[in-house]
């Protein structure tokens, strides 16, 4: 069976699983709506106290949040298992994958969950936020911007996936590493606000060392027409290519060094 056939089979299994724990998945959907609502509500509350944070207005911040929600939606459909590398390693289940005659990374990414329930509400919420704040901001859409928007969604998803994959793959070195997962959730939170409100140090860190800024902050500036960030906005494809190379390197190096906790 080819990789695509396997992928379809995995998908079927995921749908069966969904059916088994139906009630739980409904709760997960509610939780996901709450967490997006939380982001919007936080922004609302902060902006009832102040008119702008370092020049960013409310609807600009909401637009960026909407964009990031869309990226998360795509990530959740296809690559959410990136989060689980540490639990595979910790439980020793990685060995099972390694004995099978298919690429370990492929199995890792597509075996376990699919979060069929996540994307629908994230998709609706993301688009709703974009439309709502877009109308309030009176964004002008040119053909160039539309093409940029579509390409960026793709590139940003790749960048986001690679960052999470690399951090997750660190658990090949330290067996129990649930704090990597917490750190990744933290990166999600960070991305909800414009990067430069965190000061120069953190902006530098999140641009050059953990380039999470290229996921939504910098690309959004092209659409929001903040000219001072244009160079960064067009740099994201290069960042994506570098990160793909880096992911391959980290994974190959880690899997060589990996020692199974199982006997």
């Amino acid at each position: 069976m080819g990789y695509f056939g396997l992928w379809i089979e995995y998908m079927k299994k995921a749908i069966k699983q969904w059916n088994e724990f139906r009630m739980d998945f409904i709760f997960i959907s509610i939780a996901s709506i709450i967490s997006i609502g939380l982001g919007v509500l936080n922004i609302e509350i902060i902006f009832t106290q102040v008119d702008s944070i370092l020049g960013w207005t409310k609807y600009e911040v909401i637009w960026m949040l909407g964009f990031f929600t869309l990226i998360q939606c795509i990530f959740n459909v296809f690559f959410v298992n990136c989060f689980d590398v540490s639990s595979w390693v910790h439980s020793g289940n990685l060995d099972i994958l390694r004995t099978r005659p298919r690429s370990v990374v492929f199995q890792l990414l597509f075996t376990e969950r699919y979060n069929i329930e996540f994307p629908i509400d994230q998709l609706i919420m993301g688009i709703a936020l974009l439309v709502w704040s877009g109308v309030k901001l009176q964004l002008s859409w040119t053909v160039g911007k539309c093409i940029f928007f579509v390409v960026t969604i793709l590139v940003s998803t790749i960048i986001y996936t690679c960052i999470i994959f690399i951090i997750s793959a660190m658990s090949l070195w330290s067996v129990k590493s649930n704090y990597f997962v917490e750190f990744m959730f933290e990166l999600e939170e960070v991305n909800q606000y414009p990067l430069n409100v965190y000061g120069t140090g953190i902006t530098f860190l999140l641009t050059y060392i953990i380039p999470i800024g290229f996921v939504s902050f910098y690309p959004c500036q092209y659409i929001l027409e903040h000219k001072e960030y244009y160079e960064y906005a067009f740099l994201s494809p290069i960042v994506a290519i570098v990160l793909i190379g880096l992911s391959v390197l980290v994974w190959n190096f880690g899997i060589k060094r990996y020692q199974s906790p199982n006997s």
């Binding site: 009630m23 939380l38 509500l41 902060i46 102040v50 944070i53 370092l54 933290e186």
Partner: protein, 263 residues
Amino acid sequence: MNKYFMYMLSAVKCELYYKVNIVGMVLTSMFTLLIQVKLWQAIYSDNTTLSGITYSGVFVYLVVGMIFRKFIGNGIDDAISDDFESGKIATDLLRPQNYFMKSLCFDLGRGVVHLVVFGCISLIYLIWNRELVASYTPRLILCVAISAMIAYIIYVLMSFCIGITSVWFGRSIGLSMIKAGLFALLGGTFIPVDFYPVWLQGIVNVLPFKYIYYVPMSFLIDVSNERTFWLNVIIQILWCAFFAIVGKVLYRAAKKRMVIQGG
């Protein structure tokens, strides 16, 4: 009493075994804290007080709040639902012990390690910025500590109830996520409840989440909150009683309903 203490001790040992993990915990929490502080600094950049709250009040709220959050952790719902799903509960039921007390003490061990490690590091920082904490009397700090202990018990009881529901729903991930979301939304983990709009404060007041996080920390934001101490403690104890009763009923029902496969 001694046996429960041993559970706590073993949890401490488990926690200390993964040293890299502890370092990861400290670094992640430091990063989270730094991000939140920087964001609030940006919000306060044009104003000295917002809704009558000064920046230093929010700063101490964030720092001590982070220590407190490390102490209470993510709740015991994962551990409980895992016990019920995997059938490990069978051995626990055979032992002469109170299952809830065992879970509580096991979690307390983890909490103590995190509190000591992260608390020490943060306290150095707070003592270094002595002028921020100058207005706090020992009496007030005692108030915070007492309220925080009761809050921890409410949180553990609540997550105990959620963990048990896995007997009916197959899993409890969804409910745990709702709990975490509501906790962040209504507990005031990021934005102090004082900033919330009036309609939201009305909702917050009738739900338990505020009493788990905001209430113990509120004494730090504004010293004059101390006069509401006794009223808040009484409400906290009532919530404890509520969740204790719900937990007891659910636990009885779960023991009747659950099926353990294998011997």
